[in-house]
Amino acid sequence: MLLTVKDLRTYLRTGQRLVKAVDGISFKLDRGKTFCLVGESGSGKSITALSIIDLLPSSISEHPSGEIVLQSTQGGLQNLMALDEAAMEDIRGARISMIFQEPMTSLNPVFTIGEQILESLHLHYPDLSDEEAWQRALQVLRDVQLSDPETRIHAYPHQLSGGQRQRVMIAMAMACEPDLLIADEPTTALDVTVQKEILRLMKDLQERTGMGILFITHDFGVVSQIADQVGVMKQGRLVEVGDVQQIIRRPEHPYTQSLIAALPENLSKPSVVSYQEHSATVANDNEPLIRLEQLQIHFPIRKGLLRRQVDSVRAVDGIDLEIPQGQILAVVGESGSGKTTLGRGILRLVEPTGGRVLFNETDITGLSPSKLRHYRRNMQVIFQDPLSSLNPRMSIESIMTEPMKVHGIGNSREERIERASDLLRQVQLAEDSLWRYPHEFSGGQRQRICIARALCLEPSFIVCDEITSALDVSVQAEILQMLLELRDQRNLTLLFITHNIGVVEYISDETAVMYQGRIIEHGRTSQIINEPNSPYTQELISAVPRIPRLD
């Protein structure tokens, strides 16, 4: 047994309060195996990892009980909880390594990657000569399949892409050949195709070195790909531990069942009948609500003293698209493909540099700001980050009623407040939420408020920009179901921007795949998912980690 965690408790102090972040968890991890900790945000997954490697400041944390026994290749059995700081330093980085979610912030931007790898090598192997250390650093970079390691070893972190950075992070973690690798959501910030490569790389390295991996994630798709054993965490406790196949196919604990049922691929559409009726009306309706003609959004790159334009970033590069009334069009693509810019360009939050956007056959690209204001109420937007999309200094009431007042909806303040509380009821929030401030709500509740705000102008078209990516799966499921209901009630047209194929499959009627500012494939969602035509789409779809359907 490589790692045995017994009755680990970690309490965090915040001010006067004591939070039981980890509340008595026990699990075992074998050499060469992967143990996945799954759970929603705030369930204590990361705190467990940080407790094992002892990275929590003792000023805010305490361990009332627990035993963490590591069977390392050097030093035999050790209870990590009993070690002092000096002994722990020998273990950290050498016997246990950790990689983090955000590869950009976990690498020091002022050192080359070579220097950063060498530093940990020199620390743990003081008798290694410079030349040997250098060769070893090159070797680990080769091991993580970084292309052209001889040149890349001199590169600074900002010169690498996100996937390459995560490879470097893994190389740093692997440099001292650890017995245990702790990976805290290592692929969450990456695109699916890169995620697939990183997961495969971790498997390869594990087979070669026989290390154990403690893998933390919230994504059951990833779990099904990499895990041998799975532990489901909820509020600091492990509610279910078991074999990966058993957990995913036959979860026993109700919480695990609810988590798996909330995955978009397992969600049932509100009612199939209305969905088909809907498609029928869509087919009859020839007039598209939104039509894009050769839409271009280029950002100039300026250089030199006179700020001459030397080149441009073609974020959106000539897109033709039609969205019929009442339809949900999903735009999928990897990061940097221009999908967010497309959404903002349609709303003229970013000025298009060429082409036309037609709303109900009116060209809105040429409208003056005052004329555009009239169209604004028909086109709304919901953003990804529920934290930053509500003004922290305004109560929900003023956030919602101000746009109504500007557009002359409702005759008096009382009437507008009445409408706002109606909308809050529709998005399943209590009416007294009106008088609260955004910081009093959780992420999911805030996203509901954002939806209510978008609806308060009675728009016919809403751009949803990754609106569920920052949310836990169970909350995501509720929001998606609510959106579908609202679409049916109000005959809304949605442009749904996302990178999550499961969500696309669940919510959208049609799908457009974007790559480098262009749409490379557009068609009915079922057709795109099941029989994609273009090679890029095929690669994208196949990279999505999926779990077998529940029966």
Binding site: T14, G15, L372, R376, D385, R393, P403, V406, E440, R453
Partner: protein
């Protein structure tokens, strides 16, 4: 995460205020500034040779009221309005508006109707009192006016604190025989006034220019930044000296000049904040809702970008006070009205070193600047999200 959700249901500014006041430095600073403000408002009742109340043949009158200047009246009006508004439940913006309106009204009324006698003979009440003309007299706690040179006593001049048992001068007198404490009390008005007005002007200019620069960026930003650089290159003190030389000594000119030379700092802060905020989703959402520009700039963006400006302002008040003191110390301050800097100047100019003339006004300048710096420091810590609410 959950504690952030359930955290007390207060508005942002109330929370900031609470976090600021937790710190001892800020409390001390605020207490000192509040004390100074009280002293400044009630100066004519605190230090005056004119009795507050006299009873003459059974008739009670208050001579001090006859000598109130329009400025005294406006300050008193504002103070009491503020006191009443403090306890009234209404929005901050509304309160400010009412305060401003009442201040303006009082100012106009006072200018029109209040005319204190030009010639003030401080001795007359003392003479009348010693002649036994009054049944009883209620004097101010410090019964000396700042420009009362005690001509009726004849033997006046420099005097140590509490040297003379008949005439108690707590902080001594200056070479003309005027009471130092009384002069300091009246000078606190200038110190506070110049700090607030100059900083107010600078903030107003800075917020408007910086806000436009940050929101529109591009060409507007470039022109604005050049303007900022030009104004940053102007040396305030020398400009002040030049203006004093050309246009004579005036408190208002001083306030305006300090104000219009120190706005670039605020403009930089606001610009940086607005550049950041412009990209925030809630501002984008406001644009997408078709809200008018004024509302986006001032309702949605400004309150979120004011934090650093307020911190800078509290340091700015301190530096404006110092600038005035410097100018007065150089002998270019106001004529007639005492100010702390001018009192320091007097201390140096007299032939022998008289510690009380330097220590008390110097201490007052030090304390006031220190108080504002303490407040600024605490405000900065309270606004900084990284210093954390955990502690």
């Amino acid at each position: 995460m959950t504690e952030a959700v359930s955290r007390n249901r207060q508005s942002y500014w109330r929370r900031i205020l609470g976090d600021t006041l937790v710190r001892w430095g800020a409390r001390l600073g605020l207490v000192w500034v509040a004390l100074l403000a009280l002293v400044a408002v009630f100066a004519p009742f605190l230090a005056s040779s004119i009795p507050l109340l006299v009873s003459q043949q059974g008739e009670i009158s208050s001579p001090v009221l006859n000598y109130l200047t329009p400025l005294d009246v406006v300050l008193l009006c504002l103070f009491f309005t503020l006191l009443i508004l403090w306890f009234l439940p209404m929005g901050l913006g509304k309160k400010l508006l009412i305060l401003l309106g009442i201040g303006l009204l009082c100012g106009l009324a006072a200018m029109k109707w209040i005319e204190p006698p030009r010639l003030i003979i401080y001795e007359q009440y003392r003479v009348a009192e010693s002649a036994g003309a009054y049944d009883w007299v209620l004097k101010a706690p410090i019964p000396w006016s700042p420009t009362d040179y005690l001509r009726d006593f004849g033997d006046t001049g420099l005097e140590r604190p509490l040297d003379d048992e008949q005439r108690a001068h707590w902080f001594g007198t200056e070479q003309n025989g005027a009471d130092v404490l009384s002069r300091m009390i009246h000078a606190s008005r200038i110190a506070l006034g110049i700090g607030f007005v100059a900083t107010g002007i600078a903030m107003l200019l800075g917020v408007i220019i910086g806000g436009l620069m940050g929101y529109f960026s591009g060409v507007v930003d470039m022109i604005g930044m050049r303007l900022v650089e030009i104004f940053e290159a102007v040396p305030t003190l020398f400009l002040l000296l030049t203006f004093v030389a050309f246009f004579g000594r005036s408190l208002y000119i001083m306030m305006v000049i300090i104000g219009i030379t120190s706005w670039p700092g605020y403009a930089r802060y606001v610009r940086a904040e607005f550049l950041r905020l412009r990209k925030q989703d809630f501002v984008q959402a406001a644009v997408a809702s078709g809200l008018p520009l004024g509302s986006i700039l001032f309702r949605h963006m400004l309150p979120n970008g004011m934090g650093p400006v307020l911190v800078a302002a509290s340091f700015g008040v301190a530096s404006a006070i110092l600038a005035e003191a410097t100018l007065s110390f150089l002998g270019l301050g106001l004529v007639g009205d005492p100010s702390w800097g001018e009192m320091l100047n007097q201390a140096v100019q007299s032939s022998s070193f008289n510690w009380w003339m330097a220590a008390f006004p110097g201490g007052a300048i030090f304390m006031t600047v220190f108080a504002y710096n303490l407040i600024g420091e605490a405000l900065r810590d309270a606004i900084d999200p990284y210093l954390g609410r955990a502690s």
